[in-house]
Symmetry: C2
Subunit: 198 residues, 2 copies
DNA sequence: AAGAGTCCCTAACGTCCGTTAGGTTGTCCT
DNA sequence: AGGACAACCTAACGGACGTTAGGGACTCTT
């Protein structure tokens, strides 16, 4: 009998539910019984797919990075400024347009126990490395030892948008990406002059 | 008998412990038994000082805002650019130099249940209002409806420093504040030119 | 037809949680 | 001296948690 619209296997439904709950509740407050109920199975059955709660959430966090990396690698722009803007847009896209995994990673990573975080660090490093290389390429005069700091400031602005930005609002994700990019590159100074000293 | 160095009352020790645990563990993972042990009392005794776990953490979050507001109001600079830099420095000071309350607020606010968050929103609004006014004053040409967004981007950069900055490192808090301020005002463009299109 | 493997269930385990009732001690006020 | 009150204790409650053992139903392979 042909399945209509492929009902999504249980394992995937648990992962999806975990990502969504993580965003709203964090690691500790998200219970396996909740996830099981969300996915339409019973709590004990979660252990057919995952060895433990930690194991499950490691999978969620890693998927969150995967989504970011995929979005990053999909960018094709070549002209420096355009490239940077496209990557900012891609990062925001990963946060808001490709499920809850990246959002879960960004909001809940630091609420997870150290053992879980440790398991995810290598993949994180890979994504950060991509951005360091991008900065090196776009801003050749930026000293190498300033790249991580610069990236962290940009990440700070981009990642905290999940706390206040909503796709349903009047601002589009394209607009937001453009604003963040120009703010990052030219600062507020360029378009909005500082009041002169009196 | 004169108390040597005022042994800090139990209520205060519980609050301090709560702020520190919040930074490391978030709301749900922090238990009253832990806090009591940290403060040198027993779990049941916490209820002599606070009506509930929620009540306790509302006090912690509000104190976190208080510290920020106090730091903000302590700034005396008048020249626009200098003022902005001083406020950035003050905000970072609240995060790193005046106990864990502000850090707890910034990292754990969104891990707290909605009822707790709701109780803290008014004080948050007051602090955000101060910053909106500051931006209006320093950047008179910045449209009023862009102020909140601009503030959120700056807050994003400043607040996420708690995830990676350490006072013990080679970078001082003064340095960090200066970098964030100039990055915010002039962008990366000013000091580090973009690679020209090829 | 038999066996293996997948997916899920029920029922329970030990543990820890927030919270409460009631008691003890010490200090201060009158 | 006595009462009030603050600060803490012990001991327990009901409930929820992560996890496990063992079994049922179904599909696929041989």
């Amino acid at each position: 009998m042909a399945e209509p619209a492929a009902p999504a296997p249980g394992r995937q439904r648990v992962l999806d539910a975990a990502a969504e709950r993580l965003v709203e509740q964090g690691y500790a407050a998200t219970t396996l019984r909740q996830l099981a109920a969300d996915a339409g199975i019973k709590a004990g059955s979660v252990y057919h797919h995952f060895a433990s709660k930690e194991d499950l959430f490691i999978a969620v966090f890693n998927r969150g990075i995967e989504v970011m990396v995929e979005a990053f690698d999909r960018v094709e722009a070549v002209e420096p400024l355009e490239r940077l803007g496209a990557h900012v847009r891609a990062h925001l896209g990963a946060l808001f347009e490709h499920g809850s995994y990246t959002a879960a990673h960004v909001t809940a990573f630091f609420t997870a126990p150290p053992e879980v975080r440790a398991e995810v660090v290598p993949q994180r490093d890979e994504y950060e490395h991509r951005w360091n290389d991008l900065l090196a390429d776009v801003f050749p005069d930026l000293p190498a030892d300033r790249r991580p700091l610069t990236r962290l400031l940009l990440f700070g602005s981009m990642n905290t948008t999940i706390e206040w930005f909503h796709l349903s609002g009047s601002l589009s994700l394209d607009d937001l990406a453009a604003i963040i990019t120009s703010q990052f590159v030219d600062g507020i100074h360029a378009s909005h002059p500082i009041r002169s000293a009196r």
